[in-house]
Amino acid sequence: MYLKRLELRGFKTFATYTDFLFDEGITAIVGPNGSGKSNIADAVRWVLGEQSYSVLRGKRTEDMIFAGTRRRPQMGMVEAIMTFDNTSHWLPIDFSEVTIGRRAYRSGENRYLINGSRVRLRDVVELLGKAGLGHHGLVTIGQGVADAALSLRPDERRVLFEEAA
């Protein structure tokens, strides 16, 4: 089971349609400060159902939508889709390829999709939960998170282990 593809349209600085293809093994993402690398990490969390905007470095739905600049107008919606190779049946759903998608609008409305069909957030959470991708806090490990794990109090640090369980 691995992530084959991440498609972004309107997610933060990824205004234009962007299609990342991934292989198994190691993929590196490089580039200057502020170019959009960590925004990719945010997109992954967002598609997987992240509900805390502070974790996504924002405050509300519209912070996830390309805000526009002097040279390019803002967008009205954002869409991101992750495609998983599921031949190992990690996701308990009878498809060898599974897409999980999320769309959001400036109104604040969020929509969730599995294999292109609209579902509820809880369906995404449930599917990922069964695959061990639900509460697993380590799917993306952000800038500064690693050191934070050391600064936590012992009772807070426990949560790392509980979330992975």
């Binding site: 992530l3 993929t27 170019s35 960590s38 690693a146 050191d147 050391l150 012992p154």
Partner: protein
């Protein structure tokens, strides 16, 4: 849920000691429970001693030593409860050349079981990758992407 904590902890604790020694090229560390008689509420403590040094509180560790210790911990939890893929965002930023080298070896080992997407500025980490995506900021405040595969084939997107 609490049974789960216990089983995750036992495996992670074992792996943490191992990964710490691998990443530091020596020394020793372990995870301990603050209240072993109460697994439902106990906290988790870290005891770490880099090679050639005496064991002291975590606070006295250097920035790079903390980053490396945290990496050992996160990999240990990942080993106990594997994920199909994992995205690392500049976890190697504070590491010197020697430590990045050991981090890279551990990452490559782990990558046999887990797909990694690694945001990095570090040459050694980049060298471990099969595919590289270069992100740049365009004039309109929009991210542009170029992908580079290991064979040197460059594709603009």
């Amino acid at each position: 849920m609490k049974e789960e904590f216990q089983s995750v902890f036992v495996i992670a604790a074992q792996e943490f000691s191992r990964y710490f020694e691998t990443l530091f090229g020596g020394g020793q560390a372990r995870l301990t429970l603050t209240d072993p008689d109460h697994p439902a509420t106990t906290g988790v403590d870290i005891i770490a001693r880099p090679p050639g040094k005496r064991q002291q509180s975590l606070a006295l560790l250097s920035g790079g030593e903390r980053a490396l210790t945290a990496t050992a911990l996160l990999f240990a939890v990942l080993k106990a409860r594997p994920l199909p893929f994992c995205l690392l965002d500049e976890v190697d930023a504070m590491l010197d050349e020697a430590n990045v080298g050991r981090f890279r070896v551990l990452l490559e080992e782990f990558a046999k079981q887990t797909q990694f997407i690694v945001i990095t500025h570090n040459r050694q980490t980049i060298e471990a990758a099969d595919t590289i995506y270069g992100i740049s900021m365009g004039e309109q405040g929009v991210s542009n992407v170029i992908s580079l595969r290991l064979e040197g084939e460059k594709v603009s997107r």
